[in-house]
């Protein structure tokens, strides 16, 4: 009976270790240059980024945090704005339709969504389009209570805990840039998200 219980305990421990182990997430960046016909893919395990970023001590980046000069913030309390966005319902917050640019900022399904279309080069080069989808949990982690720093490590940690997301796409006449997170170690094309 004792032996049976011991075996049971070992099985339970192994089971909990197997199911409790978090799945590794990868940050993927893919740049496709249409004129050079060149594709650059970068795949970084988020756990690696979480270990490496705090070790970088260069310029304004130290201990995984980027210091923002007070002058750069121009008395804008970003934290308060994020807090307000976090507590607000889904919806469009900013919509600008200008001669050169269209900008749309919205909150949707727990994500901060930013779409920018640059129309200034549209006639000669086809313009450029930027779409950013970032989980609110990541945005919140980026900005800790001290409004003069950006916490990259906390953001990476939040990113690894968030679902798989297509985060950034940039498209212009020469380049296509895609940044996304998923559990695939390879750089397979992300499926359409959001």
């Amino acid at each position: 009976m004792k032996k049976f219980m011991q075996v049971g305990a070992v099985v339970c421990l192994l089971g909990s270790a197997a199911f409790g182990a978090p799945t590794e997430k990868y940050l993927h960046v893919r740049v496709t240059n249409t004129s050079d016909k060149e594709v650059v893919s970068v795949n970084v395990p988020l756990s690696l980024a979480e270990k490496v970023v705090p070790a970088i001590n260069h310029g304004k980046l130290s201990q995984g945090k980027v210091t923002i000069d007070e002058g750069e913030m121009k008395d804008v309390d970003v934290r308060a704005i994020l807090e307000a966005v976090k507590n607000s319902p889904d919806g469009e917050y900013v919509t600008i339709q200008g001669k050169d640019q269209d900008v749309r900022v919205a909150k949707s399904k727990g994500n901060l969504v930013v779409h920018v279309t640059d129309k200034s080069k549209a006639k000669e080069k086809g313009g450029s389009k930027v779409d950013v989808i970032i989980p609110m949990s990541v945005v919140n982690a980026l900005m800790p209570s001290d409004k003069h720093e950006i916490d990259l490590v906390a953001a990476i940690h939040a990113l690894s805990n968030s679902g798989e997301k297509l985060m950034v796409t940039v498209h212009d006449s020469d380049d296509d840039v895609k940044v996304w997170v998923d559990a695939e170690s390879g750089s397979n094309e992300p499926s359409a998200k959001e």
Partner: protein, 145 residues
């Protein structure tokens, strides 16, 4: 006869021990193939320990500049190597062009770099731990801060 046997056994044991020591830290694998008809084909598989020994013979003055550049980044190199060792095999970078292909990946504790262009094919595989060790070795050659 018994004495000869003992000597042979001792020699064989020494050879095995030396082989085990040499191979314990892994191997560096470098393969270069020029694709032109009379091109060079080079394939070197060398024990990492030889690379370490070789590094000791490089005059310190030649490593001074490299040491100054490497030293501030040692914590980053340490963290990267440790992180890569802890991670599963991953293809870190891939560049694909019309006539070239570059791949940087980790595979079984090795950093593997493959470069293919119209003139050459190059393959380099180096144990991750050796990158860290070599960086520290080079940094140690510089002036102490």
């Amino acid at each position: 006869m018994l004495l000869v046997g003992k000597i042979l056994l001792g020699a064989a044991g020494s050879v095995v021990a030396m082989g085990a020591m040499i191979s314990s830290e892994g191997f560096v694998n470098v393969k270069v193939r020029e694709t032109k008809p009379d091109g060079v084909h080079l394939h070197i598989i060398a024990p990492v320990i030889l690379m370490n020994i070789g590094l000791h013979f490089v005059p310190q003055r030649n490593l001074k500049n490299a040491a100054e550049q490497v030293k501030p980044w040692l914590p980053v190199i340490d963290a990267t190597v440790k992180g890569l060792k802890d991670s599963e095999n991953v293809q870190l970078v891939e560049v694909t062009g019309p006539d070239h292909h570059v791949k940087v990946a980790t595979d079984g504790g090795y950093m593997v770099v493959d470069v293919t262009d119209p003139g050459d094919e190059v393959h380099v595989a180096l144990p991750l731990s050796e990158i860290d060790r070599a960086a520290h070795e080079i940094a140690a050659a510089g002036p102490t801060l």
